[in-house]
């Protein structure tokens, strides 16, 4: 398991062999046992119990994209963790939010971040947003064996496309199938409820602030109807993680900003429990 040196201390030949710019390819050739996809799972009966993360939402606005997630991880009917983080920066201009088996998801994000960074360092240039999205597809596909045993990872990938000058969202299924989403997208167990909320509230001319409020509204509705999604926890000061990606790069809203948005939404829900109303026609 050593990162370098076998006996001499010299870089092993594999390190100095010209090859692909992908860290995963390098790992596959040099130490294949370290790739999560190569892990052998013993035959098991039924579903393996492991903490699951739930709802992730994303919405584009002119100038960028917002990606956010709730903070709850559940194991069966138990709350496994109240303050889990499920939204991560992938690199300077993209972020990934993960629903599904928490342990595997976090590991996948770590490898995905490394894959993008490694390519950038070796090539001296960033992958295109499309290239990043495809790379994530490959990783999910390599997890298919485990997904069949109930350990699925279903991410939502959002980024600012510097070539096209706008935010874009990609959603995935367990087989690694990738599709680009227009305007907004959701994933995870609370996604159907969040999706309904977003559908009614989305407009094409949202400001960044409106977009961040919109994701909080959607997460609130998901938590309202899905027991596996956690709402803003005012008592413990745990609020959704909200990230914004624009021309200036990735930014995660500070705890104060997040709490302010969540509290404003909560305040309004005290008057209208079902949230803002869209016009009927």
């Amino acid at each position: 398991m050593e990162a370098n040196t076998r006996s001499t201390g010299r870089l092993p030949a594999a390190f100095l062999t010209p090859g692909s710019s992908s860290f995963m390819d390098f790992l596959g050739e040099h130490q294949p046992e370290m790739l999560p996809g190569n892990r052998q799972l013993p035959p098991v009966q039924g579903v393996i119990e492991a903490p699951h993360g739930t709802t992730i939402v994303a919405v584009t606005f002119p100038g960028g994209v917002v990606l956010a997630g709730d903070r709850r991880a559940t194991m069966g009917n138990m709350i496994a963790q109240r303050d889990i983080e499920k939204v991560f920066p992938a690199d300077e201009y993209s972020a990934v939010g993960i629903a599904g088996t928490a342990g595997l998801a976090v590991e996948m994000v770590k490898l995905f971040q490394l894959e993008l960074e490694h390519f950038e360092k070796v090539e001296g240039a960033q992958l295109s947003l499309e290239g990043k999205a495809n790379r994530l597809s490959t990783m999910i596909r390599s997890n298919l064996g485990m997904a069949m045993q109930g350990l699925a990872v279903v991410p939502l990938f959002a980024g600012y496309d510097v070539d096209r000058g706008r935010g874009r969202i990609f959603s995935y299924d367990v087989t690694g199938g990738r599709s680009e989403e227009q305007n907004f997208a959701t994933t995870g167990s609370g996604s159907i409820f969040a999706r309904g909320a977003m559908k009614k509230l989305y407009r094409e001319d949202l400001t960044e602030e409106q977009a961040t409020t919109l994701v909080v509204q959607a997460l609130y509705d998901a938590a309202d109807d899905d027991s596996a999604t956690g709402g803003p926890d005012v008592a413990r000061r745990i609020y959704p993680i909200i990230t914004v990606i624009t021309e200036d790069g990735f930014r995660r809203l500070s705890e104060d900003e997040g709490s302010e948005l969540a509290r404003a939404v909560l305040e309004r829900r005290l008057e209208h429990p079902d949230g803002p109303r869209a016009a009927l026609l």
Binding site: M1, A3, N4, T5, T8, G9, R10, L11, F15, L16, P18, F23, F26, L27, H30, Q31, M34, K110, L111, L114, E117, H118, K121, V122, G124
Partner: protein
């Protein structure tokens, strides 16, 4: 079949060292300097795409003089080493000292192996710390030795002369603009002592800036920002105590 000539080990090593040194001397020199907020890499490089300086990891930068294909190979090996180590353990467990050791072993083995030709490269591995005291700069000559440097270091064909010039003038806590100016002055001096102009577009400049909020501290300085920095310090950076004409030939 003819009997091979006997060559003493001393002679064989001296020949290999001379071969490597000559190869390195064909390229341009480069310098690495500490400044108040980090470490700056400066070199003359007409190419925009083939870099002499690069990021290895969060706080670790790489600079190389000599043969491009050989140091590029080492650079990618270093990136693979650092990324694999960070993935196996933790990002904090990737250090310049560890990387410098692996490079030293690699260069040393190649240098003393009769089956391979020695690499015609000289490397610098630098890591920026939380304060100037935590900065680390290692110089790795072609034979696999390691030199722990402080303040300023030059590598390449003209290195001795340039480091002499830098040693006299570099001081701790310089601003980035001052350090950059000093580096350019040092690089513009030819072997015969005369000066030539290096225009900004022929300079490659990068920094490891400890004040950057991101985890990754390496950043290239190009275009308008580079010109602005170069213009912001007028005249010459003079040594702290006397000897203003700076006789760099010693």
């Amino acid at each position: 079949m003819s009997t091979p000539f006997y060559v003493s080990p001393q002679q064989a090593m001296a020949d290999r060292a001379e071969y490597a040194r000559k190869g390195i001397a064909r390229g341009r020199s480069l310098v690495v300097l500490q400044y108040a907020d980090g470490i700056v890499f400066v070199g003359e490089n007409p190419s925009r795409a083939l870099h002499k300086f690069s990021e290895i990891y969060d706080r670790i930068g790489f600079a190389a003089a000599g043969k491009y294909n050989e140091y590029e190979n080492l650079r990618i090996g270093g990136v693979r080493y650092a990324d694999l180590r960070g993935y196996t353990y933790d990002r904090d467990d990737v250090t310049a000292r560890g990387l410098a050791n692996v490079y030293a072993q690699t260069l040393g083995t190649i240098f003393s192996s009769q089956a391979e030709k020695p690499y015609e490269v000289e490397l610098v591995v630098a890591e920026v710390g939380d304060s100037a005291d935590g900065d680390q700069i290692y110089r790795l000559p072609h034979d696999g030795s390691i030199v722990d440097e402080h303040g300023s270091v030059a590598v390449g064909g003209n290195a001795e002369q340039i480091s002499g010039y830098l040693d006299q003038r570099h001081r701790d806590g310089m601003t980035l603009a001052e350090a950059l100016k000093l580096a350019v002055q040092a690089l513009s001096r030819d072997t015969n002592g005369s000066e030539r102009e290096i225009p900004a577009e022929r300079l490659e400049v990068a920094v490891l800036d400890r004040t950057r909020p991101q985890k990754r501290k390496f950043k290239r300085i190009v275009g308008a920002r580079l010109s602005r920095l170069l213009d912001s310090v007028p005249g010459e950076v003079s040594p702290e105590d006397g000897d203003a004409d700076g006789d760099a030939d010693e």
